[in-house]
């Protein structure tokens, strides 16, 4: 049984994990950089250790200091959260080599799914539909051009080791392919130290649908239904919901079953997500697998009641899944808005500073996962996500209405933020009908910009 867990992260996800640990009677150790001395996760944990300078690479990515802290504090497990070291297989292996439990999947799966080409191949073999495109790294610019022509433009060119919206180019024609190929290859080398590229057909009006998976170390895999994460700006999710309004029962059944097949194919043994693209004809294709807890997990928790983080900890602790597929039911609808310190009127420029006044909404069917408090100083070194606001309702429209009034109540003063943007979105008719695709957010932001003088 895990007795003490070090949380190798910061912000609202560190707070989320600390809360889960407290409920389970697990002691918590927070880590922090010199810039995060008064961050909320530090104050909520039982113990805390400073692991380095403000810059992530010196602190939240400082594997030596993090492991030393875990060992010196007597922690027996490490939860990586998301981002930072969450999908770093070498870190996971080191954690295990130190005799600690890594709260996440087996490092081999992280490796396998981290390389997007290997992931595509694995899924293809398992019979899970993948997006038309390369099955191995593109050898040369000439070969790539041929491949692109045979798939048909537009295509999307990606770094095999990429992720999180980085190392991606949309390609419209031969010319832009020739221009982009070597640039992206160099970028991939710089960012990920791996210059392998591959391509996929680009679906312009597609839905981003992902299925939440729970698995244990005894071969049990269940799904918690799907999320609709099509609201994206530059491949970054902003608003998520569960379930996906568009799906028929039959397609829901098929996509969730495909996700379970995918997870079983890689002997998945933790909490994870299978991401799919769904085209206008409701055909879906495997995109990638996230081998970690995700930002948007609360919408699934809201509609199923299942505590995903607790299950992740239990699975890592060699416990069997305590629920069966038939126990999981969809109850209503949930929406999440990521509250970020970015100025939506100014091209989402990040904003830092002191939260002079913070007031969170409350009441029925409202959940806040936040790392903020009145007087907190947002440091300029990390991600701009400050909080997540999640609402639910019997119906999708009720969840939207709840979100509207929760956003009206939400006050974050001192930094620019996207509260107003989210609020406006909750009245956009495309959003309200739920018939939006991955293209929508960009168009909507453009439209808002054009209407700005009249707003």
């Amino acid at each position: 049984m895990i007795q003490k867990c070090l949380i190798a992260n910061r912000g609202e996800i560190a707070v989320r994990i600390i809360r889960a640990c407290k409920d389970m009677g697990i002691k918590t150790v927070a880590i922090y950089s010199t810039a995060d001395k008064s961050a909320l996760h530090v104050q909520l944990a039982d113990e805390s250790v400073c692991v380095g300078e403000a810059n992530s690479k010196d602190s939240y990515l400082n594997i030596n200091n993090i492991l030393s802290a875990a060992l010196a504090c007597g922690a027996d497990a490490i939860h990586p959260g998301f981002g930072f070291l969450a999908e770093n297989a070498s870190f996971a292996r080191l954690v295990i080599a130190c005799g600690l439990i890594f709260i996440g999947p087996h490092p081999d799966v992280i490796d396998l799914m981290g390389n997007k080409i290997n992931a595509r191949n694995t899924m293809h073999k398992a019979g899970v539909p993948i997006i038309p495109g390369s099955l191995e790294p593109i050898k040369s610019i000439e070969e790539g051009l041929k491949q692109a022509q045979s798939i048909g433009y537009p295509i999307i060119l990606k770094a095999a080791a990429g992720g999180g919206g980085k190392g991606i180019r949309m390609i419209e024609d031969d010319e832009s392919f020739l221009q982009a190929f070597n640039v992206l290859r160099q970028e991939a080398k710089n960012y990920f130290n791996d210059d392998s590229l591959y391509m996929e057909k680009l679906f312009v009006n597609a839905k981003h649908i992902e299925v939440q998976i729970l698995a244990d170390q005894f071969g049990h895999v269940i799904h918690l239904f799907e999320r609709d994460c099509s609201f994206q700006r530059r491949h970054q999710k902003m608003i998520e919901e569960a379930p996906c309004h568009w799906l028929t029962q039959e397609i829901r059944q098929n996509i969730c079953q495909a996700a379970v097949t995918a997870a079983k194919a890689v002997k998945y043994d933790s909490v994870g997500t299978i991401e799919f693209l769904m085209d206008e004809e409701s055909k879906f294709y495997f995109m990638e697998m996230n081998t970690r807890i995700q930002v948007e997990h609360p919408v699934t928790e809201m509609i199923t009641g299942v505590d995903i983080v607790k299950h992740m900890i239990r699975s890592a602790d060699k416990q069997k899944l305590s629920i069966k597929q038939k126990d999981v039911k969809i109850n209503g609808h949930a929406i999440e808005c990521r509250i970020i310190s970015e100025d939506y009127r100014n091209d989402f420029k990040p904003s830092v500073g002191r939260i002079n006044f913070y007031h969170a909404p409350g009441g029925k069917d409202v959940r806040i996962d936040s790392a903020l408090y009145s007087g907190y100083e947002i440091p300029p070194f990390y991600d701009s996500m400050m909080a997540k606001l999640i609402t639910s309702g019997n119906t999708r429209l009720n969840a939207i209405k709840r979100m509207r009034s929760a956003l009206e109540e939400f006050i974050v003063e001192g930094v620019e933020n996207n509260l107003e943007f989210c609020y406006l979105t909750m009245f956009n008719s495309n959003f309200v009908t739920g018939r939006y695709t991955t293209q929508f957010a960009n168009d909507w932001i453009k439209e808002l910009k054009e209407r700005e003088p009249t707003l």
Partner: protein, 139 residues
């Protein structure tokens, strides 16, 4: 400076929105300050440290832990400690060890001086940047 004026100054300050006030003339100097209170509880834990630094700074410079690990004053349990309070030390001299990932890291003096205080505790963890040894530099 009579008490009456002082009384008045206090009154003005209390009524005002100011959190700091300083007045200096030929004869006297007054300084008033109040803490801004609203999130006291949340940030209070960092305060003792600040005060401490202010007090101790004049006496020397703290050697701070450059990494997280276990602090040791000696190379092995039976050895003599590297340093003791009051001792003169030379630049480059080993002051202590910090063990991290089973590697012993020697922490060395970066100036000549005298050991004023040892705050690291033998066998206990030190955080990054934690003050471990206070050295008064020799000039």
């Amino acid at each position: 400076m009579d008490i009456k004026s002082l009384e008045k100054i206090f009154e003005l300050f209390n009524k005002s929105q100011a959190t700091e006030f300083e007045l200096e003339d030929e004869n006297f100097k007054v300084k008033l300050k109040r803490e801004y209170e609203f999130n006291q509880s949340v940030v209070s834990e960092t305060k003792p440290r600040v005060v401490h630094e202010e007090i101790s700074k004049p006496n020397g410079n703290w050697v701070k832990a450059p990494l997280v690990g276990t602090f040791y004053t000696k190379s092995n349990p039976d050895a003599k400690p590297y340093i003791s309070v009051g001792q003169s030390i030379k630049k480059g001299q080993v002051l202590c060890l910090i063990e991290a990932m089973k590697v012993m890291n020697e922490i060395k003096a970066d100036c000549n001086g005298v050991v004023k205080e040892i705050k690291g505790i033998d066998g206990k963890m030190v955080e990054f940047n934690q003050e471990i040894i206070l050295i008064e530099e020799e000039v």
